[in-house]
């Protein structure tokens, strides 16, 4: 079975949003800076609600921020 993991482009979107910091994004979303760091690095898959809020902060649809990445076959 194909193994997949949730990947994201939050780091890039933060850069494009005038280099928004992880702490600032965390404040917008309502989570800690550490949680944003964990999401960015793929160590934590956020809840659907949080994922939608993150996408909303960047003004993008959810699928543009989060996507599946094949890691193993």
């Amino acid at each position: 079975m194909t193994k997949r993991r949730l990947s994201n482009r939050i780091r890039l979107e933060r850069f494009l949003a005038k280099e928004m910091t992880q702490a600032e994004l965390g404040q917008h979303v309502g989570v800690t800076r550490q949680t944003i760091a964990a999401i960015e690095s793929g160590r934590y898959a956020p809840s659907l609600e949080t994922a939608f809020v993150i996408a909303e902060v960047f003004g993008k649809p959810l699928e543009e921020i989060f996507h599946w990445e094949v890691v193993d076959r």
Partner: protein
């Protein structure tokens, strides 16, 4: 480092040190004296309360941005509690259902305390581990 991880580290170190001391003193004290055993247990509990209380106060006073607890903290806590619960159940079965057929008083009491101590140590070890390496969803 998230506040919850700092709390977990304090709990973990305090539990390991205090329960190590507790079991050493309890095994060397008079096993037939209820008061001796209760005194050691009470001293351990009071020491834990003091150390964890001071540690928690220091952490709580530190300024931090954003919420103190979020969904990731809860996910980590849920997973750690789930595993620790199973450890506790095994300990309770041992001390309450199996050991009574072969041992008496002192051993049963210490087995029950050990079940609680081990499950708590497991819980906080998992919390600290999950904050470091992820894998909790």
């Amino acid at each position: 480092m998230p506040k919850k991880e700092q709390f977990a580290r304090i709990w973990l170190v305090t539990l390991v040190v205090s329960y190590s001391a507790y079991f050493w003193f309890a095994s060397n004290a008079n096993r037939d004296s209820l008061w001796d055993q209760l005194l050691i247990f009470a001293a351990t509990t009071i020491a834990q309360i003091i150390v964890i209380g001071i540690g928690s106060a220091v952490i709580a006073l530190k300024k931090s941005q954003g919420p103190s607890v979020d969904e990731r903290d809860r996910a980590i806590d849920n997973k750690a509690t789930r595993v620790a619960y199973n450890v506790l159940i095994v300990g309770v079965i041992m001390s309450g259902c199996i050991l009574p057929f072969s041992h008496s008083g002192w051993v049963l009491f210490q087995a029950a305390v050990a079940a609680i101590a081990v499950s708590e140590v497991v819980r906080y070890s998992i919390i600290v581990g999950l904050y470091r390496r992820g894998g909790y969803d």
